[in-house]
């Protein structure tokens, strides 16, 4: 069984971001970039399935700049078998390659590689779109299992537990399927140094986005990107009585 794992290079989740002064976007020069955390969870799950003998091959795919090779290598060091980079000079966070275009590119790669299912993140932590997996499922006409906190792979089907607003829902998906990961699916491993070195030698295919016959022009024009309004500074209270007094008499949020 073969799994395709789309991964995205994004700003590291610990970095405090800065909006550019000209309001055209977020400053990504010289900041730490990482594998999108949800995609790291997807890679981890794929590797665990391989370790359990449920799958034979894990292919990671990224659409991004040539630097996204770093994230592909990280995924390979975690245990993926090979990588494909669809290279573009356009931004992939805002105003460039959008989820619909990513889904169209992934569809082409799926048709080429024929995986049994696609395992990917539920959300990029830069554009916060939460769309690509659902779109890919629609374009392929495959079963969809979003926000997975547990998956069980059988012969022809996958049982997915989904984190939803009212609790947890379990679905049975016919394979092939698209699954997106939620935080509770697993805790990703750190790649060992020796594996990071070995990953440098694994196969990484590079495809130019221009060779794919897809119109990737953005549908959402970025008019501006601004800082959110800041909250006013608050105060420290010295004890519970003072807190209750403030809440009742100053803020008037308790009666």
């Amino acid at each position: 069984m073969k799994i395709l794992v789309p991964i995205k290079r994004v700003i590291d989740y610990n970095v405090k971001i800065h909006v550019k002064a000209d309001e055209t976007g977020v400053d990504l020069a010289n900041v730490k970039m990482s594998l999108n955390p949800f995609d790291e969870i997807a890679v981890e799950e794929a590797v665990r399935l391989k370790e359990a003998g449920k799958t034979s091959e894990i292919i990671v795919v990224s659409i991004g700049s040539e630097k996204a090779q770093e994230q592909i290598r990280t995924a390979i060091a975690m245990g993926a078998d090979r990588g494909i980079l669809v290279q573009t000079d356009d931004p992939i966070d805002l105003g460039g390659i959008e989820p619909l275009a990513v889904a169209k590119i992934l569809k082409i790669l799926v048709e080429k590689e024929n995986p049994d299912f696609v395992l990917m993140g539920k959300q990029s932590i830069d554009d916060d779109s939460n769309q690509t997996g659902q779109m890919l499922s629609a374009l392929l006409g495959w079963a969809q299992g979003t926000f997975a906190s547990a998956i069980e792979v059988n012969n022809k089907s996958i049982i997915v537990t989904r984190e939803i607003d009212g609790g947890r829902e379990t679905l049975k998906l016919k394979m092939p399927a698209v699954i997106t990961t939620d935080l509770r699916l697993n805790e990703p491993r750190y790649a060992k140094l020796s594996d990071i070195i070995k990953a440098k030698k694994k196969e990484l295919e590079i495809i130019s986005i221009n060779t794919l016959d897809i119109d990737c022009s953005p549908r959402l024009k970025i008019i501006k990107v601004t800082e959110p309004p800041a909250r006013q500074n608050g105060i420290k209270v010295s004890n519970v009585d003072e807190l209750i007094d403030k809440l009742k008499n100053e803020a008037k949020v308790l009666s």
């Binding site: 405090k16 971001i17 939460n130 769309q131 629609a138 939803i164 607003d165 549908r219």
Partner: protein, 309 residues
């Protein structure tokens, strides 16, 4: 042309987030239709018809939709969408699951989680965990949009008198099937519409200690929320997680107890009217956004607070 809202409901009534989504739709057009798709959903349909601002209810009552999956509902939405300028759904797990699927069927780039409407094509949406606000202008003919509920006033669930139109279902998709639902049963208010929220983090220390939070919440009729760390540790169910990848809330009063204030958490609470933090680390980042901060051991402060309220 008019605007279509996709209702999230429990077959009996519309969920509160649907009313906020109608509130957003109102800023686009006066003629708002709503799709209520479900099974034995007559009461939900009737309540939709009475909702302020709704002019037409599209009803699909079919056994196949007792559990709505993206594969079942998205093709219906995609067909209907051709008659509308905008299709709006709440940015809840329900809306997030189905609307992008419909958008791809229509070759539309969805606009996720909008927090403001500038004009019929232009919207604001938080990105980078709410640390930036992007103003985006869509060039698609039909706009498919998910709506951040706290950013829009809800429509009233009274005062409407909409016409109800039956539409057929498209049958059951064979791609996926429902197995089970483990619902979190609670008498407390829903997080996304609660006036007061008491939230606990890793500092609470264990699932049994979480009773402290619950007791305080019960005393003042509050909803209970949590940080990711508290959910990951199994103190409380996943649907209580507040933040970038959980629920976005905006109560009048948010009390964060034993929560450090990571950006991923703060983005989910920063539109609250008053934020209170109780934490024994005076340097915890949560104090930078708290209106009232109490540096104290929660195991002393929370029982005292509960006693005195």
């Amino acid at each position: 042309m008019s605007v279509l809202v996709i209702a999230e409901h429990n077959n009996k009534r519309l969920k509160a987030v649907t009313l906020n989504t109608i509130g957003a739709a109102k800023q686009l057009d006066n003629d708002i239709h709503i799709l209520v798709a479900g099974s034995s959903c007559n009461s939900a349909v009737e309540s939709a018809a009475k909702t302020e601002n709704i002019t037409k209810v599209l009803k699909i009552n079919s056994k196949e939709l007792s559990h709505v999956t993206a594969e079942n509902i998205a093709p219906i939405i995609a067909d209907l969408a051709k008659n509308y300028t905008h299709v709006l759904a709440p940015a809840s797990t329900f809306g997030k699951n189905i609307l992008p699927h419909a958008a791809a069927l229509l070759d539309v780039q969805q606009i996720s989680d909008i927090s403001a409407i500038i004009d019929n094509d232009t919207f604001e949406r938080p990105v980078y965990a709410g640390n930036a606000i992007a103003t985006v202008k869509s060039s698609d003919d039909i706009k498919l949009i998910t709506v951040r509920s706290i950013a829009f006033e809800p429509s009233s669930n009274e005062g409407g008198n909409a016409h109800i139109e039956n539409i057929p279902s498209k049958g059951k998709s064979k791609l996926s099937s429902f197995v089970a639902l483990r619902e979190t049963i609670s008498d407390r208010p829903e997080l996304t519409s609660a006036k007061i929220i008491i939230a606990g983090g890793r500092g609470i220390g264990s699932a049994s200690n979480f009773a402290l939070i619950e007791k305080l919440a019960n005393k003042i009729g509050a909803a209970v929320g949590a940080s990711r760390a508290a959910v990951d540790a199994g103190y409380i169910p996943n649907d209580c997680q507040i933040g970038q990848t959980g629920k976005i809330v905006a109560p009048d009063l948010y009390i964060a107890i034993g929560i450090s204030g990571a950006i991923q958490h703060l983005t989910g609470i920063k539109d609250s009217k008053i934020i209170v933090a109780i934490n024994n680390d005076e340097n915890a980042p949560i104090f930078q956004v708290a209106d009232y901060g109490l540096v104290a051991d929660l195991f002393d402060a929370v029982p005292e607070l509960e006693n005195k309220l």
